[in-house]
């Protein structure tokens, strides 16, 4: 009973750690009537305490480093981080810039990551990543 709930109810908190806003627009596009992520129970929430999934965009800048880690720690378990866009995976166009603290999975390795490559990725790809995330959350709940 519990595992199936995760399959149809994922609440997403969105963090921008210094991205160019392209991926953020695509995340919003996934919620518009055209793609309508809410039909799968995916909802954008305003507080990390409510979230199951963190939609993470941007390479982490030095300024955002501590804040981003703090937000991830505030999210209740079980949680999943979906890294949206090339920047979050390897820096993208900002690769090896002087102001970067590195990609998020190096800074905070103790979490489950899912990656959506693209600059920016299409909304279909973002929704597919959420589908992968709920499959993993189901597995966690079964154990």
């Amino acid at each position: 009973m519990i595992p199936k709930a995760f399959k149809r109810s994922l609440w997403v908190f969105h963090i921008n750690s210094g991205s160019c806003n392209g991926c953020d627009i695509e995340i919003i596009a996934a919620l518009t009537p055209r793609y309508d992520a809410e039909r799968f129970g995916i909802k954008l929430v305003g507080s990390p305490r409510h979230a199951d999934v963190i939609a993470f965009t941007g390479p982490v800048t030095n300024d955002m480093k501590d804040k981003v880690i703090r937000i991830i720690e505030q999210t209740p378990d079980p949680k999943v981080i979906v890294v949206v866009g090339s920047c979050g995976i390897g820096g993208g166009v900002f690769h090896e810039s002087y102001h970067l603290a590195g990609p998020i999975d190096k800074l905070y390795p103790n979490a489950k990551y899912f990656y959506v490559p693209g600059c920016p990725p299409r909304p279909e790809a973002i929704i597919q990543a959420f589908a992968k995330a709920w499959e993993w959350l189901e597995e966690v709940e079964k154990k």
Partner: protein, 335 residues
């Protein structure tokens, strides 16, 4: 005798709690589905709120380090319990309320304040500045909508006080619909009271356009910002139960009609028909008071909320009261 009475009271209360939670969540699901259709989306399935609650129950329950722990944990429980308690005093589905008696009309008015006060306490206890702002806004909203709500209830009770009986009990008001005891002026007055009641609903239930206390896009969920897991699930259920309770109150005050006598049914069939008709009435009230308004307009600023309630809605309610008074004075009948 007393033991048996208390036993049945407890059994009935548990049944009411089950009904309240089930239909509260069901109506929440229907509400979300209809809003999605109005926005040209497919929308979540109707059982979505049940899945959300089950999921929240299986999540970690975090209490912030600087929060006042007992108050933080007690607030959602009080909020849910008092929301369910409301339904013990409001007649639902053609049955009389479980706990009824002299003055329960006033009691309901105050019971509606308790979930909000519990959430305010929880908000202040959670040590987050967002929650503190949300709590302050909730208090301001409460001060705003209590006045028109009280005017509506007093106007109805005053109009019916001409008839022999216990005016301040729900059972009396439910058995004497306001529409049959007024003339033409009173009819217009009663419609104005109904309008102010419908506009009070989104404020009372913290829905758009009066959801300033929980505004997700500006203060990140406001009162509920630090709640997670089981506590958030309780607040989520309480929200659904409150919608069901307020719609039931509007039905009991304005539309307490049954359908069984009209269809000349009796026995079990009449009970079932009345209950289904009651659910339809609650749905219609919820549709016009919550869903339609929620899909149609954007959120007000906090100053606009106060102006809307204190000036516009209070004026409409007071005018309704005056019309009911003139109705008694001039006495022009429409039935």
């Amino acid at each position: 005798m007393t033991g048996e009475f208390i036993f049945w009271l407890v059994v009935k209360s548990v049944i009411i709690a089950g009904i309240a939670i089930f239909f509260g969540l069901l109506y929440k699901g229907i509400d979300r589905k209809i809003v999605a259709h109005m926005q040209g989306r497919v929308g979540p399935p109707i059982r979505q709120p049940f899945l959300d609650v089950i999921k929240l129950m299986s999540k970690e329950n975090i209490v912030p380090k600087h929060a006042i722990k007992w108050l933080f944990n007690a607030a959602p429980l009080i909020c849910l319990a008092s929301s369910i308690m409301l339904l013990l005093y409001i007649p639902i589905g053609g049955f009389d309320a479980i706990l009824e008696g002299h003055g329960d009309l006033i009691l309901i008015l105050y019971l509606f304040a308790i979930p909000s006060i519990a959430m305010v306490a929880g908000g202040f206890a959670s040590s987050s500045p967002y929650a503190a702002i949300g709590a302050q806004r909730e208090v301001v909203t409460m001060i705003s909508y209590e006045l028109p709500l009280a005017v509506v209830i007093i106007a109805i009770a005053w109009k019916l006080s001409g008839i022999e009986g216990d005016v301040f009990s729900m059972a009396f008001i439910a058995s004497h619909p306001i529409w049959q005891n007024v003339g033409i002026l009173g009819l217009i007055g009663a419609i104005m009271l109904l309008i102010s009641m419908v506009v009070v609903a989104p404020g009372e239930l913290a829905k758009i356009p009066f959801d300033v206390a929980e505004a997700e896009t500006e203060i990140a969920g406001g009162l509920t910002v630090e709640y997670s897991g089981r506590n958030l699930a309780m607040l989520y259920i309480a929200d659904g139960v409150k919608i069901f309770a307020f719609a039931s109150l509007v039905v009991a005050l304005f539309f307490p009609y049954g359908i069984a006598s009209l269809l000349s049914l009796n026995g079990v069939a009449s009970i079932i028909a009345d209950f289904l008709f009651f659910l339809l009435k609650v749905f219609l009230v919820m549709f016009f008071a919550v869903t339609l308004i929620r899909a149609g307009v954007a959120r007000f600023r906090i100053t606009q909320v106060v102006t809307a309630y204190w000036v516009t809605i209070t004026l409409i309610a007071l005018l309704g009261l005056v019309l009911l008074m003139w109705d008694t004075h001039f006495n022009v009948r429409w039935l």
